[in-house]
Structures are given as structure tokens and as C-alpha cells.
């Protein structure tokens, strides 16, 4: 009785089920219905909100292109009894409403010593691969993970997309929910009844004893591919998918590294002040004595995302680089690498 959904459908199902479950959940963003104010038909929404307004005509709204206002409205609505799910479309557009995220959503609770609760979800599509160029392909979650007061969620599979979205909506803190645009049409088993994947619990996507690969978002599948290649060479990799990067289940990572002695972190973001370095540094500080070789990070280069496919494909890290990084941290293989 398995049921296969796309990642996009899984997010949509979570939205529908949570709206069913809790009348305080509202959903809005540009074209979340699609077609409001036109003479044609409603429903030209793109993505997981498609069709939602038919079920909940009073709780799904289109917005004008006013991210600062409507993300701020999500904060104000969250602080006064609703559970808004606001849609940024591309995470790159966080630029035009960053104050409302950084200085309002993230800080309202702390500044009022706990009087405010801000249970909002901000949906944000991220990542390279769709040939959208530098302003529509960024990853940016390191920026949000840096900000105290925000939670940052990063599902890698359809099943997690559904369960994490449900958890994000039920959570009492502001959550930035990252949806990788290249994962939308990936498929996987997704149980039909509502369920929650708790925030802050990593998933061991593949067990292994020789090297820990912590992989984020779209890199999880790449790490699994890399693990297949390496298994053929006799290196058994453990692939850890943190699923949420704030909170971060660092204990599961420490445990894994204590067993494997080696760490590679694979992250699609650019390298400086990113999550790859963040996790690598935590391990180098708190599990240093478990390390039997240098930590290795696999990231995009310190450059904007290029438009043309030839360059964009070279930009995005993938299984090959992960394989190379694993070999480079395991002394025997590092030797081979150097020799070859």
C-alpha cells in the first residue's frame, strides 16, 4: 500500500491537511491562488498552493508584489492568533523583505521576554539547476541559520517535505522552509495520513562505518550516489541528512564521526560562512579527537550562479566532488589520490 508523490505534491498535501486540521492556518503569496483580478479563470498558481483555494477559499490569498508588507503581515498575524504560511517564491527575494525576517520575525519574542509567539512559516524556493541566473538560484540558508530566533528547515525527500512542513506549521517559532526547485519533481513514498517529522532530528540516510558524509538538501541524493561509487571501492559511507539546520542535530553527527573517524560535508551553498564550514568547525571543536583525517567540505564556489547550462552545471557540486573529498580524507586513499 505504498503511495508515491512528488516533493511538490507532498508539500501541497501538508498544507491542505494542516489547514484542515487548524482553522488558524492561512496561506498567502504572489499567485498563491493565481488570477485574482483578472477576467479569466482563477487558479494559475504555480507550485504547492495550486488548487488550495478551492478547499479553503477564505484562507488562501493572492498578494501584490509587496514582500516587506506581506512577510511583515505574517509576523503580525502570527503574533495575534494565526499560523500564516507566506510564500516568498524564490528565496532570493528575501532581499526585499529581509528586515521583516531578521529584525522583526526573529527577534520579537526575545525583545518582549517571551510575550510574543511568532508561529509563521516562510516558504522559500532555492537552489541552482533551473537556468535562472544569479538572482533566482541562490541557496542562502546559511544566512538564515546565522540568525538567532529563526528555524531553518531543509527537506531532501518527499516524505520529509510533508512531515517537516506539518511540523513547521505546528511549531510556535518562525520557520524558513526551504524547497529545492530541482527536487519538486522528484518522487518518493509519502504516507497519506497527516504526520510530523520533528524539527531538529537528523536522519541517517545510509549507514556506513568508514566516513561520515553530512549532506544538505539536494546534496543528500548526490551523497547517496557517491556512497554507491565508494562502496564499490570498499569504502562504506554513512550519509547523514540533518533535515533542519537550525536547530541542528549535531549529536547525531558527532556520533557518526566518532564511529567513522572521517567527515565530509556536502552543501550546495557558497563556501564562506556556510553550513558546511559550520558543521566542520563544530566537529573540529567538539569531536576533534575522533577525527582521523582532515574534515572536507564540498560546496559551490565563491561566485554567483551563472546562467548558461555549461557553467551552471560546473558550478553545482555533485557526487563526483563528494567522492573525491571522501577519498582525500581517508589516509590510504588520500595517498592514492596524491600519487595519481
Amino acid at each position: 500500500m505504498t503511495r508515491v508523490l512528488s516533493y511538490l505534491q507532498a508539500v501541497g498535501e501538508a498544507l491542505r491537511q494542516e489547514m484542515q486540521h487548524d482553522p488558524s492556518v492561512v496561506v498567502f503569496g504572489e499567485d498563491n491562488i493565481g488570477g485574482t483580478g483578472c477576467d479569466g479563470r482563477l487558479g494559475n498558481a504555480w507550485g504547492p498552493t495550486q488548487g488550495l483555494h478551492e478547499h479553503f477559499p477564505d484562507r488562501v490569498f493572492d498578494t501584490p508584489i509587496t514582500e516587506a508588507a506581506f512577510v511583515g503581515a505574517a509576523v503580525g498575524a502570527a503574533a495575534t492568533g494565526l499560523r500564516p504560511v507566506a510564500d516568498l517564491l524564490f528565496v532570493d527575494f528575501a532581499g526585499v523583505c529581509f528586515d521583516q525576517i531578521l529584525n522583526q520575525a526573529a527577534k520579537l519574542r526575545y525583545m518582549t521576554a517571551g510575550k510574543a509567539r511568532v508561529p509563521l512559516v516562510l516558504r522559500a524556493m532555492y537552489g541552482a539547476g533551473m537556468r535562472r541566473g544569479a538572482q533566482h538560484s541562490q541557496v542562502l540558508y546559511p544566512i538564515f541559520a546565522h540568525v538567532p530566533g529563526l528555524k531553518v528547515v531543509l527537506p531532501a525527500t518527499p516524505a520529509d517535505a510533508k512531515g517537516l512542513m506539518a511540523a513547521a506549521i505546528r511549531d510556535d517559532d518562525p520557520v524558513i522552509f526551504f524547497e529545492h526547485k530541482m527536487l519538486y519533481f522528484s518522487h518518493g513514498e509519502v504516507p497519506e495520513p497527516p504526520y510530523v517529522v520533528p524539527l531538529g532530528q537528523a536522519r541517517i540516510a545510509r549507514p556506513g562505518r568508514d566516513c561520515t558524509i553530512v549532506a544538505l538538501g539536494r546534496m543528500v541524493a548526490e551523497a547517496e550516489k557517491a556512497a554507491d561509487v565508494l562502496a564499490a571501492e570498499g569504502i562504506e559511507c554513512e550519509v547523514v541528512d540533518p533535515r533542519t539546520i537550525s536547530p541542528l542535530d549535531i549529536e547525531t553527527i558527532y556520533d557518526s564521526v566518532r564511529r567513522t573517524g572521517h567527515l565530509v560535508v556536502a552543501d550546495e551553498a557558497t563556501p564562506r560562512c556556510g553550513v558546511a564550514g559550520d558543521i566542520a568547525a563544530l566537529v573540529a571543536e567538539h569531536a576533534f579527537h575522533a577525527l582521523r583525517g582532515p574534515v572536507r567540505t564540498v560546496t559551490a564556489p565563491h561566485a554567483p550562479v551563472p546562467f548558461t547550462p555549461a557553467l551552471e552545471d560546473a558550478y553545482t557540486p555533485g557526487a563526483d566532488q563528494i567522492v573525491t573529498a571522501v577519498r582525500a580524507t581517508i589516509p590510504a586513499f588520500a595517498g592514492q589520490e596524491r600519487a595519481s
Binding site: 488558524s24 511583515g72 503574533a79 494565526l82 528586515d99 522583526q104 510574543a116
Partner: protein, 327 residues
């Protein structure tokens, strides 16, 4: 002063007491500030009391306001506890926000006060949100967003006007044009223009209001709140009232103000004095009643300052609480 509907006696007393409380609070903070016990950035509201008072006395306890960096007046008018406010400004345990917020972040969600805000116009979108919340929950609560003339140039303010117009939110935008944004004059940064036409351009009804006349503000606010409450959508009030003090305590010498400007303001445009004269002339209140209120307010503020000065610092364990509900 033109004629405006006269509130009943209890309301008149409430209006006067509110304005006097704000004034006394601010004058006292101004006096205490150089003593060095008040930390941080404090922006005083004295001179503008008629605006917060005229607006907030037509709101219910359930209605929402979002305020600015110059927020003491709004908080007091919305009913926040004055002693807890003073404790907050001093950064003490028992402060309205546990000492973690300070003057620029005073908030009291229980009273619909969604917070002062350190970012110009930063609170305005929040007001759109509380207005949306009321609308979706089907209550008749109204939201008020306060913003300064300088803050009204922010993109977040312009976008909020659009969103409120499009969603027909139950909201009142109250611009407080006090002539200055820090040391920059509105003659420069607004080109001497009113803000009202910016709302009208979006189909939002707007009015320019004499911000020294509490009854004028009150009447305009009552109409706007009534419109919002009955589903008529947003309104903007563009209230004119200069501040008595500098931009921020300890910061500016007000060299940018015309010579004698503040003296003239205090002599001729003091909302409290204007109201008192009228109340006495028209026999709404007696001299004795006014004196009684003044004395009671003074005692209240004395008490607040005493409490604040003798209160303890927050416990160090508070440093890491309230970042999240759960983490």
C-alpha cells in the same frame, strides 16, 4: 480651535489624564537621563501627546497598535503599565519586557501593543498582519500603525498601504509628521508635501489633522476606526505636531531647529495647555479637577521612577531564554 464633538466627562478626564501622564513621563525621563542610570537610546514623545491620546482613546483594549522608536506615548495611551514601562526603560527585572527590550522595544501583547520598533516603519507591516488576523478570525478588532514622517518614506510603509488597500484591511495608518527625521527637515525629505496624498493615490481615504488638538485627532480617529471596524477598509491620518525635545536623549543639541522654535511651541502649541484652556473655558473640567489629575500623575511617575531605580537587574539566566518557544 475649531469645534469637535465633545466627549463625555469621563472621557474628557481620561483624555487629559492620558496626555498628562505621557508628558510627565517624558519630562521626567528627560530629567533623569543625564544621571546615567537610563541606558541606551531614548526618544521622547513630549509635544505629540494629542496624537497618541486622540487615537488610542477611541480604541478598545482588544484593538492593536504597532508603534515606533518614539513609542512611550503610544504605549501609555494604549494602557500599558507606567511603572513596568519605567522599569523597562531602566533595564530592570520586572520591566514590561523583562529588561530585554528597552525603550525602543516596549511591547505589551496583552494590551494590544505590538511593540515600539527600532526600525523606521518596521512595525507598519506587523499592523497589516494583526488587521488580517482580526479579519480572518472574524472579530471586529482594528489595527493602528503609527509611523513618523521620516519612516513614511520607507518602502515597507508604501507596501503596507498597497497591501491594506488590496486586502481591504481594518487598519488606520497614523503618520506623525513632527517636522523632522533626526536632524533632517520634512521640507527636505518630503519636499514639504503632506503624506495624505500618497494614501489617496491608492484609493485610501486620508486627512491632514491638527496634531496639537486632541479632539480633532479624536474625531478623525473615531471616523477612521469606525470605517475599519465596519469593513470599510483602511484610512490614513496625517497628523502634524512637532516634538519638544531633540531626536534622542543625549544625542543632539537641536542646532537644526530655528531659534526660539521650541519656546514658541511650548508657549503656543502645547496640546495640554490648549486642551486645559478649552476645558476650563467651556466648563468641562474645573481647575481643581485638573490640579488633582496633575498631582496624581506626578505621584504615579515619582513612584515609577523610584521603583525603577531600586529594582534589580534581570537575572543572568535570562540571557538565553525566549530566543525560541522550543529549540
Amino acid at each position: 480651535m475649531p469645534d469637535h464633538p465633545r466627549p463625555d466627562r469621563a472621557e474628557l478626564i481620561d483624555i487629559y489624564r492620558t496626555m498628562r501622564t505621557i508628558r510627565e513621563f517624558e519630562e521626567r525621563v528627560h530629567t533623569e537621563f543625564p544621571g546615567g542610570e537610563i541606558p541606551g537610546a531614548v526618544h521622547l514623545y513630549a509635544g505629540q501627546e494629542a496624537v497618541a491620546t486622540g487615537v488610542c482613546t477611541v480604541l478598545t483594549g482588544d484593538d492593536y497598535i504597532a508603534s515606533t522608536h518614539r513609542g512611550h506615548g503610544h504605549a501609555i495611551a494604549k494602557g500599558c503599565d507606567v511603572t513596568a514601562m519605567m522599569l523597562e526603560i531602566y533595564g530592570r527585572a520586572g520591566g514590561l519586557c523583562g529588561g530585554k527590550g528597552g525603550s525602543m522595544h516596549i511591547a505589551d501583547f496583552g494590551r494590544g501593543m505590538l511593540g515600539a520598533n527600532g526600525v523606521a516603519a518596521g512595525g507598519v507591516p506587523l499592523s497589516c498582519g494583526s488587521a488580517l488576523s482580526a479579519k480572518v478570525r472574524g472579530t471586529d478588532q482594528v489595527s493602528v500603525a503609527f509611523v513618523g514622517d521620516g519612516g513614511a518614506n520607507q518602502g515597507a510603509f508604501a507596501e503596507s498601504l498597497v497591501l491594506a488597500a488590496v486586502w481591504q484591511l481594518p487598519i488606520v495608518f497614523v503618520v506623525e509628521d513632527n517636522g523632522y527625521a533626526q536632524a533632517t527637515g520634512t521640507r527636505f525629505h518630503l519636499g514639504g508635501k503632506d503624506i495624505a496624498p500618497r494614501a489617496e493615490a491608492l484609493g485610501i481615504p486620508a486627512a491632514v489633522v491638527d496634531g496639537y488638538d486632541v479632539l480633532a485627532v479624536r474625531e478623525a480617529a473615531a471616523g477612521a476606526v469606525q470605517r475599519a471596524r465596519s469593513g470599510g477598509g483602511p484610512t490614513l491620518l496625517d497628523c502634524k505636531a512637532h516634538r519638544f525635545f531633540g531626536h534622542m536623549e543625549g544625542w543632539d543639541q537641536q542646532a537644526y531647529r530655528a531659534e526660539g522654535e521650541v519656546d514658541r511651541l511650548r508657549a503656543e502649541q502645547d496640546c495640554l495647555q490648549l486642551f486645559a484652556i478649552r476645558a476650563l473655558e467651556d466648563e468641562w473640567l474645573t481647575t481643581a479637577e485638573i490640579a488633582e489629575i496633575d498631582a496624581a500623575v506626578r505621584a504615579l511617575i515619582d513612584h515609577a521612577v523610584e521603583e525603577a531605580k531600586s529594582a534589580k537587574d534581570p537575572d543572568i539566566s535570562e540571557l538565553l531564554t525566549d530566543v525560541y518557544v522550543t529549540y
